[in-house]
């Protein structure tokens, strides 16, 4: 739950505008990074990962009002630039069904993209020393804690001086974040562990991402 499920009409306009500007910049950079990619190859992969994230975010974990994000998994499998495009796509789908407001879409894109990128970096560092599953678990846990802290801090700062009472909001969400971080880390570790055994090319430091960034562009014969 590191992304903001903030409904419309809560955050001040300047925060929302700043979120949209930052998201637009991020998307522009991401689009520029994948400009040489073989779009016919990248697009279906982006869509498959987006669909998986959307699926994960659609299903609460049992009685908990918490769902998996899989943004770190997207970062690991796609690489940072394509995963920015994927999270923006997922954010739009979710916002349209009231899963976080449409006005908060920019902020959510920034937060989720940051999550994917940080997860990708941490996984890349971790897998030099650790098994892929362990590296993925640690990358997920650390990233989620950092991203959740950033999200809460952003809320507190942007709503500071208003009638918002952080002392009520944070204790309500903290236990969910803690449980969710453990569950998501375990799930991502299991996914990456299994993929490392059956399709090592997918988790070899973001192999999909490397292809997406152009190294495999035009490689129709490698399909």
């Amino acid at each position: 739950m590191s992304h903001l499920h903030v409904p419309d009409g809560i955050l001040p306009g300047w925060v929302l505008a700043a979120g949209y500007v930052a998201a637009a910049l991020l998307l522009a950079v991401a689009a520029w990074r994948v400009r040489r990619a073989d779009w016919g190859r990248l697009a279906p992969r982006l869509a498959a990962m987006s669909a998986l994230m959307l699926l994960a975010m659609s299903v609460p974990l049992g009685v908990l009002p918490y769902h998996l994000n899989l943004t770190i998994l997207a970062g690991i499998l796609l690489g940072p630039a394509p995963s920015v495009l994927a999270v923006a796509c997922v954010g739009l789908f979710l916002a349209l069904v009231g899963h976080g407001g449409i006005t908060v879409l920019g902020l959510n894109t920034v937060l989720l993209a940051g999550e994917a990128a940080l997860g990708w970096v941490l996984f890349g560092v971790g897998r030099r020393f650790l098994a892929p599953a362990v590296a993925a678990a640690l990358a997920t846990a650390v990233t989620l804690v950092v991203a959740a802290a950033a999200a809460v801090a952003m809320l507190v700062v942007s709503l500071g001086g208003s009638d918002f009472i952080p002392g009520r909001f944070v204790p309500l969400t903290l236990p969910l974040l803690a449980i969710g971080t453990v569950v998501e880390s375990a799930v991502v570790a299991a996914v990456v562990g299994l993929l490392a055994r059956v399709r090592p090319d997918l988790v070899a430091g973001g192999a999909g991402g490397e292809e997406a960034r152009g190294k495999g562009a035009g490689g129709k014969a490698d399909a």
């Binding site: 697009a43 498959a48 006005t103």
Partner: protein, 519 residues
């Protein structure tokens, strides 16, 4: 749970006046609700958007329990924030949040995602493509994920009594979905590439366009070897595979025989590490576009190759990618849809189509560019007898009446096999046999050696021959019946005196024939 599938169902099947209203009007109404909710400064004003949103949802004939269910999650989130506010302001915060959410729900329950994304202004074309592909992938993955989760749960991997083990089980199910999603994505990529996405426009190159005479060899594969990324080696040796212009050939072999690998080489998606592949005299992997423009392909899993938001858009995908003018695209789509009997499906969202309808749509997508060569990977799999017979009749018409060269891959000899001009039998990466249907299908040793079933009619004829009956080997039920009738000196069956027509469904058997196919 965010039930996107249910929302999609409401949007696609709704019949209210709001569903029929112009999309622009629905977008404006939703925007007014969101804007009004966000801008509301006092409680009375803040009550208007939720009330209006609820009224619009009910006017759109969304059942009240569904409205409550869909609004529950946004309401929960709104309440979470409302209680974190000064009590006097909590109702205002809640009303703002739920009002905006109901506005968006109104838009989505009256507008299918594909229509919304294909018409939203300001979206770059690539963003539209990603959104539409995500939408298609979501429903495919949902099914696969549910299947995987059921399988893992059945085997004890998803138990709430052991949360971490349960998380691991969930991870395994998701990993299965990731793999399925990735494979599906690669299949979609192949389909999209074959239909001209991201490639140049125009006609075939002069080098490729040169050859065109009847009986001419248009494809040849000689002893190729390929290594997949996990270093699995696939070699296709034995006899050469040769395809002649205007013929209808079948490639039979069990799972893992190398049929799909051969297809991927013919289409240029794989480049052999060793050996020769030529299509229209060119190496497909090197001259991908030149070969692609003259070839139509229907992959095994047709759901992955249908990428358009509606059937009409999907069939027009290739022509649009080739830069055809809009009116020419529209005319080609209409004409082909009429020929294939799918005109009534043109407005439909593809993921609601049945298996047979999907095959027809995929076939239309492959045919719209008027290919000289049509490759079909298991076109009859998963079809009921009626759909199978219809597709078979279509393929025969394409080949016999329009001269399209057709190659069909399958893993069993069936009622369609006798209609082929030539049958190749593959086994363990080897072309084990080739010949006319009467020769190949009569060779029980060849079929059994390749791990293929011997057709029941052929088994019957073989058994009778072993007992001394003078019968020619055939797997065509009509020919077999004629021979048996002559042997037994039975009178010929007159028109209208035959068995129930329904018995003829499995194959394109001439009308009036009296021999049931399921004998």
């Amino acid at each position: 749970m965010l039930d996107l599938a249910y929302i999609d169902h409401l949007a696609c099947n709704g019949r209210s006046f709001l569903h029929r209203a112009p999309l622009a009007l629905r977008i404006v109404l939703a925007a007014l609700l969101v804007g009004g909710a966000v801008a509301a400064r006092g409680l009375p004003w803040a009550l208007v958007p939720p009330a209006a949103g609820l009224a619009l949802l009910l006017a759109a004939r969304v059942p009240l329990p569904s409205v409550v269910g869909l609004a529950a999650y946004p309401a929960l989130l709104s309440a979470l924030f409302a209680v974190s506010w000064r009590p006097a302001l909590a109702p205002l915060v809640f009303c703002r949040a739920i009002g905006a959410a109901l506005g968006l729900l109104f838009l989505l329950t009256t507008t299918p995602y594909p229509a919304l994304f294909s018409r939203l202004p300001l979206l770059p074309p690539r963003a539209r493509e990603i959104l539409l592909l995500t939408y298609r992938s979501f429903f495919a993955l949902l099914e696969r994920c549910l299947d995987a989760a059921r399988a893992v749960r059945w085997r004890g991997g998803l138990s709430w009594r052991a949360p971490l083990a349960g998380a691991r089980g969930l991870g395994v199910a998701l990993a299965g979905a990731v793999l399925a999603g990735w494979d599906g994505a690669e299949a979609t990529y192949r389909a999209v590439a074959m239909r001209g996405h991201g490639t140049g426009t125009g006609t075939a190159s002069g080098e490729a366009a040169g050859a065109s005479c009847a009986g001419e060899e248009i494809a040849r594969v000689s002893c190729i070897r390929h290594f997949y990324p996990d270093r699995t080696e696939v070699a296709i040796c034995g006899l050469d595979f040769v395809l002649y212009r205007g013929e209808l050939a079948m490639l039979l072999g069990p799972n893992g025989a190398g049929k799909t690998t051969l297809f991927l080489h013919l289409t240029g998606f794989l480049r052999p590490a060793e050996g020769l592949v030529r299509v229209f005299g060119l190496e497909p992997a090197r001259h991908f576009d030149a070969v692609r423009r003259r070839m139509g392909v229907m992959f095994q899993d047709v759901a992955t190759q249908i990428v358009g938001p509606t059937v009409r858009d999907d069939i027009g995908f290739g022509p649009r990618a080739a830069g055809w003018p809009k009116d020419r695209v529209a005319a080609a789509v209409e004409s082909l849809a009429g020929r294939l009997g799918i005109r009534h499906l043109l407005h439909k969202v593809p993921h609601y189509l049945s298996g047979g309808e999907m095959k027809r749509v995929a076939l239309a997508g492959a045919l719209v560019m008027e290919p000289e060569l049509l490759l079909l990977d298991e076109p009859f799999s998963g079809l009921d007898p009626r759909a199978r017979a219809e597709i078979a009749a279509l393929l025969l018409d394409l080949n016999r009446a329009r001269g399209v060269t057709v190659l069909i891959a399958g893993h069993e000899a069936d009622a369609f096999s006798p209609h082929a001009d030539r049958i190749y039998v593959m086994s363990c990466g080897r072309i084990a046999g080739v010949g006319r249907p009467a020769e190949v299908l009569a060779d029980g040793d060849l079929l059994r050696g390749a791990g293929l079933d011997v057709p029941p009619v052929l088994k019957l004829i073989g058994d009778l021959r072993a007992r001394g009956a003078k019968l020619d080997p055939t797997c065509d039920p009509v020919a077999a019946a004629d021979q048996l009738a002559r042997l037994l000196r039975l009178p010929a069956v007159g028109a209208g005196g035959g068995a129930d027509e329904a018995h003829h469904a499995p194959g394109p058997v001439p009308a009036g024939s009296s021999i049931p196919q399921d004998q």
